[in-house]
Assembly symmetry: C2
Homo-oligomer: 150 residues x 2
């Protein structure tokens, strides 16, 4: 059986976020072939600068599974995680991290502080960059272009 | 009028955290001379690896003030913030960051990735390290010693 298109689900969450006026980034947390949690950015709606899609799915999954650590779980996110989220992904012991577009300005996996290469990082997920990269980047470019030209 | 002892309040939150079996770290978020939010670690209680004291007060303050950004607010925390929290402190635009003990193993301000010196960091708080350092470090040392020798 083919593996479901989890990055496609993450992209759908990113599109929903754009529809709410949020920066279009989406994330899906998976255990085996089951979606445990899915979310888009909600920083504006929740008045919470930490409400990135990744943080929302990590916290929801921990609550559902009753566990601080999500060692068997994989995370799909449309954009390279930022410094905050990269660290949270490490703390929750995510097994595999799939991400779409890279983020030179704010990313922390292959950009910026490259947290997973730091001596203060104590768990490194397996990394699968560039999955669905084009679609994720297009969403972001379109969103910011439309905001500049209302 | 003297400024209230906010680091003393943060230390009290750290002690309360130890009493609940949590790693003893506490944080207090202040606007002017008013405490907006105070918390200790709750990662175990909440089954949430992101429930560090700093994240809890940032989120509570944002909810109370109805604002993603806490530009006029100062944060007191007993230990050097980790990579996740250092980034969250930047995202919420905290004005001044006072912290106690440094954390070579997990810190991200003067240790590790030194996030505030990274090109992907877009807001740097004023930094006041070493405030109440001895008391904060003693609490942590005592906590881990007691866990090793039950």
């Amino acid at each position: 059986m083919n593996r479901p298109d989890f990055m496609g689900l993450a992209l759908a969450e990113a599109e929903n976020a754009a529809g709410r006026g949020e920066v279009p980034i989406g994330a899906v947390l998976v255990s085996g072939n089951d979606v445990v949690a899915r979310a888009g950015n909600r920083t504006r709606e929740l008045n919470d600068a930490t409400a990135h899609a990744e943080m929302l799915v990590l916290r929801e999954a921990s609550a559902k599974l009753g566990a601080e650590r999500l060692g068997g779980c994989d995370l799909y996110v449309t954009l390279e995680p930022c410094t905050m989220c990269a660290a949270a992904i490490s703390f929750t012991r995510i097994r595999r991290l799939y991400f779409g577009a890279t983020d030179e300005k704010g990313g922390a996996v292959v950009s910026g502080v490259r947290f997973y290469s730091a001596p203060t990082c104590h768990h490194v997920p397996e990394l699968y960059p560039g999955i669905g990269e084009r679609a994720a980047a297009d969403l972001l470019v379109r969103f910011f272009r439309e905001r500049r030209e209302p």
